[in-house]
Symmetry: C2
Subunit: 237 residues, 2 copies
DNA sequence: GGTCGTAGTTGAACACGTTCAAGAAGGGCG
DNA sequence: CGCCCTTCTTGAACGTGTTCAACTACGACC
């Protein structure tokens, strides 16, 4: 078997502060994760075996498991990549303040747009993410960084909104919107319509709907029900 | 290995109408599914291997696959069992007409109650059901019978409700409530609180909430938004 | 009774994710 | 240089779900 020789790169300051990785280890880690991400994109989740990843990266199977506890953890890297792209795509649109409905639609739509190329892939690995104890679950500790980033994005959506919103609702809104996007993603994964046009329709039409509901929250009549929903949400979180 | 000899039972009318199974085949099929259901309940999904099922049933692994295309299809049988129990538990409560809120709470609560013993099990096999193409998905063709039965139950919940409901909403309500129960189940699977008390809380408090929203649907002010939601739902179904 | 076709049954074999005992590499220290 | 410790790497091995070619049992038909 042909083995690529990896030279030790530039000599590095030895683990300055809390550095848990040497230059060599980090290089192998990247090599593996890059190869995995590439193969996932090319062939989907199930078709991309750990043996194939290891072979393509020029390392042994065991070596991949030295850096990643499971195949699922390799997907986490893939997921992070996609999410970074989503955040980037949103930045421009969310730069200037504007109506809540536009910002919400933009955030959700670019999300669907960014994920689009990976629809098949997402379908095949979704089961892993849906498992309760899985590190890939959006609610898991392992997903905390990705979740935080996404939440910050929705906080930005709310902060830059010129629409008037009930203050109590406004505080919880980013989290609720993130949850809504999880719902959209759930629908998207199961959406078999060509180009996932149904999911686009869902976003296109639920954004104004959410906007209307949020707008209504300011009126006194709805205060009790809004409070009830928020209280329940806090209890269940 | 000890092998139970299976006598051909009572001689049977040969495949009267559309009968696709002989007596012997049906017996083996039942033997396998009963064994599988028992082991699933005793040890959970992952711990119960196909080899263990086959061994406990006194057949070969290949024989199990002759009757069931995959391990997941064996769970379908388990799921059906639980759902039957749920329907039975509801029948008594739903016999006499009453307020919508009571009927809804009862239906959902008995659902949680019926599933309770299998929480651990459900968690481990949930990933299989969540997969888009899976026959175990509640939206799949294979799940059609179970889905129909559940829908009929929620239709009963609505039909026997003495509460006044917007007719247009009333027509779609059973399906929406079924969807809501899917949501509750989704939460339940991920609920790690002792005895899944949080899920009970969710049902306990969301039933009056849904009731209130349904009640509000009759007022003219909300007609546009109700219609919008229903239209969107029909488009996405 | 014999023959044939279908239904039923078997267990070895495959590919997969994952584990693990063993070893190699490399650098710091006396 | 020699020793040791940590980091990194290996590939065989395990247990899993699933497949498949071969075999058996059995009822129907001539």
């Amino acid at each position: 078997m042909v083995r690529t020789v990896v030279e030790p790169a530039i000599s590095e300051a030895p683990a300055a502060a809390g550095g848990e990785s040497t230059a060599k280890g980090e290089q192998t880690r990247r090599l593996i994760v890059d190869t995995a991400v590439r193969l996932f994109g090319e062939q989907g989740y199930d078709k991309t075996t750990m043996r194939a990843i290891a072979a393509a990266a020029g390392v042994s199977v065991g070596n991949a498991y030295y850096y990643f506890p499971s195949k699922g953890h390799l997907v986490q890297a893939f997921y992070t990549t996609v999410q970074d792209a989503h955040a980037d795509a949103c930045r421009q649109v969310l730069a200037a303040p504007g109506p809540f409905v536009d910002r919400l639609r933009a955030a959700m739509l670019t999300g669907v747009e960014t994920m689009a190329p990976y629809h098949g892939f997402a379908g095949s690995f979704f089961k892993t993410a849906a498992e309760p104890g899985s590190p890939l679950s959006p609610f898991s500790a392992d997903s905390a960084p990705a979740r935080e980033r996404s939440l910050r994005m929705f906080a930005d959506v709310v902060d830059g909104a010129t629409t008037k919103i009930d203050p109590e609702l406004r505080a919880e809104l980013p989290e609720l919107l993130w949850l809504a996007q999880m719902g959209v993603t759930l629908y998207w994964v199961h959406d078999t319509s060509p180009g996932q046009e149904k999911t686009r329709l869902l976003v296109e039409r639920s954004a104004p709907l959410i906007d209307r509901l949020v707008g209504m929250s300011r009126y006194r009549v709805f205060r009790p029900v809004v409070r009830e929903v928020l209280t329940l949400y806090r209890l269940l979180r």
